[in-house]
C-alpha cells in the first residue's frame, strides 16, 4: 500500500532536486516573498530574521513578518503550529508585507499545510520541503507526508524535496540545531546573497557562545549553499541599490524601546502581555547599561499607578501594554487626566475583545484609546504607521505629555510590533530629552493649577519645589487643588482640560495626501495599514484610477484640514482592521450598520458620508485585497 503511494508520487514529482544542476543564470526579480516555517523551536524565526538582515545589508528593501503559533510549544508537526518568518524582499523600498508568498521553506508538511489552508501561498509557489518524513519509521507520518506532497504537486505548486536532515547530519549530530542555518545557506544561494553576510549574522547571534557553535553553524550555512548550488536548477537575484545613508533594521517593539531611550524617559512600568512584552524585554537590558529601570508590577493597574506616581514626582514615565492590560489601566488613566500628570501609554493592539487573539494583528482599540475611562477624559492618541514612526512617536508623545500635562496614548499593533523594515538611522538630538526635573522654588501666590483661560494649560509643581506644596487629587478641584464641592468649578475644569486638546490641535499640520488632492476616491487609514494602502493606491493610480489616500497619525486631536481634503473626492472610505458590519448581511442596513472606528469618527466630526471596509483576519490586510476593495468602491454608485 505504502509502496504504491511512493511509486505513484515519484512519478508525479516533476521537480525532484536534480543532481548537479550546475549554475544557472539567475532570474532577475523586482521582489519576492519568502517564508521559512517549522515547528516552534526549530529556528525558522532566526533563519528568517537573518535572511531579512542579510538582504537589508545587500541594500534590498525588506519587510519581515513573524509567523507565530498561539501556543508556546504547539505539538510537533501540527497544522496550527507553524512558526517562522516571512520576508518580502524588494529591489526598492518596501512598505508592507505584501500579498501571498512566492517561495517557502518548510521543515515538515503539516506546518506547510497550515499555510496552504490559510491561503498564504501564491498558486504557483515554490516549496522547498524537508524530505526526511518520506523515510520515517512511523508509517502514518510517511503516509501523511506523501499524501500532502502529492496533493500539492497536483495543485500546481512547485515542490522540491530537500534532504535537509540528512545533509545536516553530516556536520552535526543533532540536525534540529542547525537545520535553520542550512536553510539560510540555501536561501543565500537562491537569492544570490553574499554568503559572508550570513556568516556575519551567525557571529552576531552566537558570538557570545563558544567558537565551536559559531564554526558548526557557519559550516551548515556553507553546506546549504553548496547543496543548493549543486542540486537546484534555478536561482534568483533581486538587484538592489544600496542606500547612501545608514539604515536601521528593527521591529516596531524594538523601535519603541529605542524611542523610550532616546526620549530620556527613565522608568517603564509594565506587566507582561503579548504582543507588547518584547519592547520591555529589550528596554530592561538597555536600561541596565544606560541607566533607568523597567518595573514589572504585580498587574497593569499597579504598573499604571506606579508610572503615574513616578511621573508626578519626576520626569514623564511610560507604561507599555496590550488590549486586556489597557482595559485594566482605564481608571488610573482617568486619574492622570484629572490630575494633569504627564504619562505615555503604549497599547500594542492585539485581537479582541477579552483575551481574543494575543498574537494577532487588529486595530480594535481606537475608540477605547480616545474615549476610554469614565467621564470626559481627554487624552492625546497617536498611531505610528511605520517602524520608523514607532521610534519617533515615542519622542513626540513624551514631549506632548510634558508640554500639555496630558496622557498620550500610542497605538501600535501586533503587525508593527513584530515586523522589521529599514529606515534611516536616527541622529540623536538633545531636544528629544526631557529637561531635568524642576526643583526651583515656586513664586509666592502661584497656584498648582493656574489654568490659562485660552489654552487650558497650567504648569505643574513637582515635589521638592519649595512653596509648591499641594495635594493632587482625582476629585474635582480648583486652582489650589482643593476639593471642589461646587459643580460649577467642575464644569470650568472640564473646559480647561478639553481646551488643551484644541491648543495642541492648533499646532498640527494638515495630513499629507498620497496621490492627487482631488479625485474619485479617497481612502483614509491609520496605523500599520499605511504601507499596504499606499502601495494599493499607487498601483491603482498606475492603471489610471483617480484614487488617493490620507493616513492619520494623530487620531486625537484630529489635525486641521481633513474636511477640506475629503471634500476634494467623490467618495471617501476608510480601510481598517476592526469590525464593521457587512452591508450584504441580511439584517444590516443604514440604520443599524456599525461602522469601523475611524469611519465613525470622521462621519460624526465632519458630517461627510465616509464609508468603510474592514477585515479582521488577525493579519495585515494585503495590498491586493485593498486594490479589489477600492475597485469595487469605485464601481458602486
Amino acid at each position: 500500500m505504502n509502496e504504491m503511494i511512493i511509486e505513484k508520487s515519484t512519478k508525479k514529482t516533476g521537480n525532484k532536486a536534480k543532481a548537479a544542476a550546475g549554475k544557472k543564470a539567475a532570474i532577475k526579480l523586482k521582489e519576492h516573498i519568502v517564508e521559512i516555517i517549522s515547528d516552534s523551536g526549530e529556528g525558522a524565526q532566526k533563519c528568517g530574521q537573518s535572511l531579512g538582515a542579510i538582504a537589508a545589508q545587500m541594500g534590498n528593501g525588506i519587510w519581515t513578518t513573524e509567523i507565530i503559533p498561539a501556543e508556546i510549544r504547539p505539538p510537533a508537526r501540527s497544522v496550527a503550529g507553524a512558526s517562522g518568518n516571512r520576508i518580502r524582499i524588494g529591489a526598492g523600498y518596501i512598505t508592507n508585507g505584501g500579498d501571498e508568498t512566492d517561495l517557502v521553506v518548510a521543515f515538515n508538511e503539516q506546518v506547510l499545510l497550515g499555510r496552504v489552508r490559510a491561503k498564504e501561498l501564491k498558486p504557483n509557489c515554490v516549496i522547498l520541503l524537508e524530505s526526511m518524513w518520506r523515510s520515517h519509521s512511523d508509517q502514518k507520518i510517511v503516509a501523511s507526508y506523501i499524501e500532502t506532497h502529492d496533493r500539492l504537486v497536483a495543485a500546481g505548486y512547485k515542490v522540491y524535496e530537500i534532504p535537509m536532515e540528512q545533509e545536516c547530519k553530516k556536520i552535526v549530530a543533532d540536525a534540529k540545531r542547525g537545520k535553520n542555518m542550512f536553510a539560510l545557506g540555501m536561501l543565500c544561494y537562491l537569492y544570490s546573497l553574499e554568503l559572508k553576510l550570513g556568516a556575519d549574522q551567525i557571529v552576531l547571534a552566537f558570538g557570545k557562545k563558544d567558537q565551536s557553535v559559531v564554526d558548526a553553524n557557519i559550516k551548515l550555512l556553507e553546506a546549504g549553499h553548496k547543496w543548493a548550488e549543486a542540486n537546484l536548477d534555478f536561482c534568483y537575484s533581486i538587484p538592489a541599490v544600496r542606500s547612501t545613508e545608514p539604515q536601521l533594521v528593527v521591529n516596531g517593539n524594538t523601535a519603541i524601546a529605542l524611542g523610550v531611550l532616546a526620549s530620556g524617559m527613565e522608568i517603564c512600568a509594565m506587566y507582561p502581555i503579548t504582543p507588547a512584552t518584547s519592547a520591555s524585554h529589550y528596554l530592561s537590558e538597555v536600561f541596565e547599561k544606560v541607566g533607568g529601570m523597567v518595573h514589572q508590577a504585580e498587574d497593569e493597574i499597579a504598573a499604571c499607578a506606579f508610572a503615574i506616581g513616578a511621573s508626578y514626582a519626576g520626569k514623564c514615565t511610560i507604561t507599555i501594554t496590550s488590549g486586556p492590560g489597557y482595559s485594566l489601566k482605564q481608571e488610573a488613566i482617568g486619574l492622570a487626566v484629572m490630575g494633569e500628570i504627564p504619562l505615555v501609554v503604549v497599547n500594542v493592539q492585539r485581537g479582541g475583545p477579552s483575551t481574543g487573539q494575543p498574537t494577532k494583528m487588529e486595530q480594535g482599540d481606537l475608540m477605547t484609546a480616545i474615549f476610554g475611562s469614565h467621564g470626559d477624559a481627554p487624552k492625546v492618541v497617536l498611531a505610528p504607521g511605520t517602524i520608523e514612526e514607532c521610534f519617533y512617536s515615542i519622542i513626540t508623545a513624551r514631549k506632548i505629555a510634558e508640554t500639555f500635562n496630558m496622557v498620550v496614548v500610542v497605538l501600535t499593533d501586533a503587525a508593527l510590533a513584530t515586523s522589521q523594515q529599514p529606515f534611516p538611522r536616527p541622529k540623536f538630538s538633545e531636544t528629544w530629552m526631557a529637561p531635568p526635573v524642576d526643583q526651583s522654588p515656586v513664586a509666592a501666590g502661584a497656584k498648582p493649577y493656574d489654568w490659562d483661560e485660552t489654552t487650558g494649560l497650567a504648569r505643574r509643581f513637582i515635589p521638592g519645589q519649595p512653596g509648591g506644596m499641594h495635594t493632587l487629587t482625582g476629585l474635582a478641584h480648583d486652582r489650589d487643588s482643593h476639593v471642589a464641592y461646587d459643580a460649577e468649578i467642575n464644569e470650568q475644569t472640564l473646559r480647561f482640560r478639553s481646551l488643551k486638546l484644541a491648543a495642541l490641535q492648533k499646532t498640527l499640520k494638515a495630513p499629507p495626501v498620497f496621490g492627487d488632492p482631488k479625485g474619485d476616491l479617497l481612502v483614509v487609514g491609520w496605523g500599520s495599514t499605511k504601507g499596504a494602502i499606499e502601495e494599493a493606491v499607487a498601483s491603482m493610480r498606475a492603471e489610471g484610477k483617480k484614487v488617493s489616500s490620507m493616513h492619520l497619525q494623530f487620531l486625537q486631536p484630529l489635525p486641521p484640514g481633513i474636511k477640506e481634503i475629503m471634500q476634494g473626492f467623490k467618495k471617501v472610505m476608510t480601510i481598517e482592521s476592526n469590525w464593521s458590519d457587512r452591508p450584504e448581511d441580511q439584517i444590516i442596513d443604514e440604520n443599524n450598520r456599525r461602522y469601523s472606528a475611524l469611519a465613525i469618527l470622521l462621519r460624526s466630526r465632519y458630517l461627510v458620508d465616509v464609508d468603510c471596509w474592514s477585515e479582521v483576519k488577525g493579519q495585515p490586510i494585503k495590498p491586493g485585497t485593498m486594490r479589489r476593495v477600492m475597485s469595487e468602491k469605485l464601481k458602486k454608485h
Binding site: 545608514p246 506616581g309 513616578a310 526635573v437
Partner: protein, 332 residues
C-alpha cells in the same frame, strides 16, 4: 516684577532651609472634615507632631492615599500630597519613591482600600519593601460609602450589606503582612492611646524599609460601640515592649498592666502574638532592618545626561545598522 518675587521667595527658601525649625502649623492645612471623635483626627495629630519633631521639610515630604474617609489625610497636611484612586495608593507611592528616593513618602490607606480592593498591591508592597511609611487606618468598616462590611469587620458586624451580621471571619492584617516574604516592619497602634501611637509612628518613620502600621481606628459614625470592649477594659490591650522596641512610660504602665516583653526580631513569636484573639497587641511586632529595599536594588545611580543617552542610544543603534558600502569600507 515676577522675577523680583521669584528671587525673593528663593531667598526666603534658602533662609528656611538654613533654619530647620518647624511649628505644627507648618504642617497643618485646612480643617479636617472628619466626624467628631473620628480616630483619623488622632492619627493626623500624631503624624503632624512627628513631622515637626523630625523637622521634615514640607516640600520634600509626600503623603499618598487612596479613596475613603482616611484617604483625605493628605489634604490636611501642608506637604505635597497625592489623593489618588481607590486601592492604588501603594503602587502610586512606589512610583514616587522610585523616581525620587530623596523624598520622604507616607501612605494613608483604609481597610477597604488596602485589604480589599488594593489587596494585591498590599502583598507586593510588603515584598518590594520600599522605604515607605504605611498607615492602615483600620476602622473595620467602609466609612466613606456609608457602612458596608470590610474584610476586617469582625464576624457578625451589622452593616448595610450585611444587615443580619457579616458572615465571614475577619481578615487579620497583621498575620497577613507577617506572612509575606521580605516583611521588614509591622506594628499595631490604637488611635485612643496617643502616646503609644506617636511612639509607633516615630519608630515606623525611622525604619528603613516598608513600615506597616495598622492603626485600630474608631468610626463613631458607623460603628460607635465596636471598640468599647477594648477601650473600656485596658487589660484587653496588650502592650508590647522591649529594649529594641517601645519603652513604656510609668503613666502608661499604670493604666495598661497587660504587658509583654517581645523582641521585634523574633518573627515566629510576632506571628503568634498577631494571631491572638481576646486581647489586641499594641506595639512593634516585627522589625528587620536588614531586608533590602527595592529602590536600592533598582534605582539607577547613572545620571542620564544627554551625553550618556546619546552614547547609549548609538551603541544600541550600531547593533542594527546597515551601513552604506563606503562607510563600511572606511571603518574596515
Amino acid at each position: 516684577m515676577n522675577m523680583m518675587s521669584d528671587t525673593m521667595s528663593a531667598t526666603a527658601c534658602l533662609l528656611q532651609m538654613a533654619d530647620e525649625h518647624f511649628e505644627l502649623e507648618d504642617y497643618q492645612s485646612g480643617v479636617p472634615r472628619w466626624c467628631t471623635g473620628c480616630g483619623d483626627n488622632a492619627i493626623l495629630a500624631a503624624v503632624q507632631r512627628l513631622c515637626r519633631d523630625e523637622a521634615l521639610r514640607p516640600e520634600k515630604t509626600v503623603f499618598v492615599s487612596g479613596i475613603g474617609c482616611s484617604s483625605r489625610f493628605p489634604h490636611y497636611m501642608k506637604t505635597y500630597g497625592f489623593h489618588g484612586i481607590h486601592g492604588r495608593a501603594l503602587p502610586v507611592a512606589e512610583g514616587v519613591k522610585m523616581a525620587r528616593p530623596d523624598l520622604t513618602v507616607f501612605v494613608n490607606t483604609g481597610d477597604g482600600d488596602c485589604t480589599s480592593i488594593g489587596a494585591a498591591h498590599w502583598i507586593h508592597a510588603i515584598r518590594y519593601n520600599m522605604n515607605l511609611t504605611v498607615f492602615l487606618h483600620d476602622n473595620q468598616i467602609y466609612g466613606l460609602t456609608k457602612k458596608q462590611a470590610s474584610p476586617t469587620s469582625p464576624i457578625g458586624t451589622r452593616s448595610n450589606t450585611t444587615p443580619r451580621g457579616s458572615y465571614l471571619e475577619a481578615l487579620n492584617p497583621l498575620t497577613v503582612t507577617l506572612g509575606v516574604q521580605n516583611v521588614s516592619f509591622v506594628a499595631q497602634a490604637a488611635d485612643w492611646i496617643p502616646e503609644v501611637l506617636f511612639d509607633i509612628v516615630k519608630a515606623a518613620y525611622h525604619h528603613k524599609g516598608l513600615s506597616f502600621v495598622r492603626i485600630i481606628q474608631r468610626c463613631p459614625e458607623w460603628l460607635p460601640k465596636a471598640l468599647d470592649p477594648w477601650m473600656h477594659d485596658p487589660n484587653k490591650v496588650q502592650l508590647l515592649h522591649h529594649d529594641d522596641g517601645l519603652q513604656l512610660s510609668t503613666g502608661l504602665s499604670r493604666v495598661y498592666k497587660n504587658q509583654l516583653e517581645h523582641d521585634p526580631m523574633n518573627i515566629d513569636r510576632a506571628r503568634e502574638i498577631a494571631s491572638g484573639h481576646e486581647t489586641i497587641p499594641v506595639g512593634i511586632l516585627y522589625r528587620n532592618p536588614a531586608v533590602p529595599c527595592y529602590e536600592d536594588l533598582r534605582y539607577s545611580d547613572k545620571l542620564r545626561t544627554p551625553d550618556l543617552t546619546r552614547a547609549g542610544l548609538n551603541a544600541e543603534l550600531d547593533k542594527y545598522t546597515v551601513w552604506p558600502q563606503e562607510a563600511k569600507e572606511k571603518v574596515a
